[in-house]
């Protein structure tokens, strides 16, 4: 089967690099599936997971936003943070979730901190779901 090279890169270094059969993820404009031979494309991503299909198995990488770049020979995900599902610190994500929920309870809706807490909550929840692979 044809494969395409995929790398997930963050400021702290590359997180994932491999040849896969299919990449699927959630872009701002909706679900997106990339197969080898896709036209060059750039799309911003939602906080969510990147699913990489390889030899009948699927690997998961949690990303907090960023964007996806597709070239004829390579797919690159550039995110400010990303973790492979097995590398996620669930304990930490749970703590972050609690912190964010606490803050959301305390603050008013129009506050900047509110939005920030909301994003933090979404990131934490995303990490937890990716780590537990519940979809």
């Amino acid at each position: 089967m044809k494969t395409i090279k995929v790398s997930v890169v963050t400021p702290d270094g590359p997180v994932y690099e491999s040849d896969v059969e299919m990449v699927s993820t959630k872009a701002k404009s909706g679900e997106l599936g990339i197969l080898p031979g896709h036209v060059p494309l750039v799309a911003p991503l939602e906080i969510g997971s990147v699913r990489l299909k390889k030899d009948g198995k699927t690997e998961f990488v949690a990303v907090s936003g960023g964007f996806l770049e597709v070239r004829p020979d390579q797919v690159t995900v550039l995110a400010q943070s990303a973790e492979k599902s097995e590398d996620i610190d669930v304990e930490r994500a749970l703590r972050a979730k609690e912190r964010a929920e606490q803050r959301l309870r305390e603050q008013k809706q129009d506050n900047i901190d509110f939005k920030r807490a909301e994003l933090a909550l979404r990131r934490a929840v995303n990490r937890i779901t990716v780590a537990e692979r519940k979809y």
Partner: protein
């Protein structure tokens, strides 16, 4: 001449100092290695994001974004990256001097600019001078992760977006080699040097949903990663500078110890000679 005991004390204390500086040199060397590695692992991200930004900004003609356009300058922001601790030779003072001179020559009043300080030394300096330090972050880890400074980078970029600043400069010490670091000034925003770094061939992308929406996400991320890159660069420089400074200090201490040992031996020999002379003198007097 100082007494034997004094010299002995001095040798002992200098030796202790040299042990400390030696230890500091070694920890700095380890941190320096890590710092250079960190800076290296950031390179792929930076290259990639630069490539995409350039392709989009140049490829999709007619795209405009506030971060790409000049506007009349009412207020300038300076991001100054220094270290938290001293004992790194001229590392901090070089950066600070450069910023200070630039500000003196460019601005007439304190209202025309504001400073964002990363690192305690820089912050303290500018606060003491009564400059307007709007944001500061101190106590950063030696191997900072992107999350550690995410807040300051997004606030800084946000302040440009909401027109608190009309331009944003970045000052840091660029790492060239273990013995050479150079203070660098970089215009962060508006992003003007994008076309200068154009790759060899531009790929024409499809945009999902469109180029403007992507720039909206991409440009802040690009600007933020520039700040992070500068910080990593500065950390590598800091440890290299401290390593060199501590090596010099250790060498100086060794030199001092050598001199002291020489005068110690001289003083001891002089004392012995004097004792012999006294004994001989005493014996001669008895005859």
């Amino acid at each position: 001449m100082a007494s034997l005991r004094d010299i002995k004390h001095r040798i002992a204390s200098t030796k202790k100092t040299s042990q400390i500086t030696k230890a500091m040199e070694m920890t700095s060397a380890a941190k320096w290695n890590r710092g250079v590695l960190n800076a290296k692992s950031f390179v792929p991200y930076m290259e990639k994001i630069q490539e995409v930004t350039t392709s989009i900004a140049l490829g999709a003609g007619g795209v405009t974004h506030p971060m790409l356009t000049h506007r009349p300058i009412k207020k300038t922001g300076y991001i100054v990256i220094t270290s938290d601790r001293g004992l790194a030779g001229a590392f901090n003072s070089n950066v600070i001097r450069r910023v200070h001179q630039t500000i003196q020559s460019r601005h007439k009043s304190n209202d025309e600019f504001a400073i964002i300080a990363i690192g305690r030394v820089g912050r303290d300096f500018f606060v003491k001078r009564g400059y307007n330090v709007v944001l500061d972050i101190v106590g950063l880890h030696d191997q900072p992760s992107f999350q550690d400074i995410k807040e300051i980078t997004s606030t800084a970029v946000g302040m440009f977006a909401d027109e608190t600043f009309d331009e944003l400069y970045l000052y840091y010490s660029h790492y060239i080699s273990a013995i050479s670091q150079q203070v660098t000034e970089k215009q962060l925003l508006p992003l003007t040097d994008i076309s200068a770094s154009a790759p060899h061939k531009l790929i024409s992308y499809e945009f999902e949903p469109d180029a403007e929406a992507i720039l909206e996400v991409l440009l802040p991320q690009y600007a933020e990663s520039l700040i992070y890159g500068a910080l990593l660069d500065s950390k590598a420089s800091e440890h290299a500078a401290r390593m060199t400074a501590m090596r010099n200090a250790t060498d100086n201490a060794q030199e001092l110890i050598r001199n002291y040992s020489l005068s110690y031996n001289r003083a001891r020999q002089a004392a012995i000679t004097q004792e012999i002379t006294e004994i001989v003198g005493g014996a001669a007097a008895l005859e």
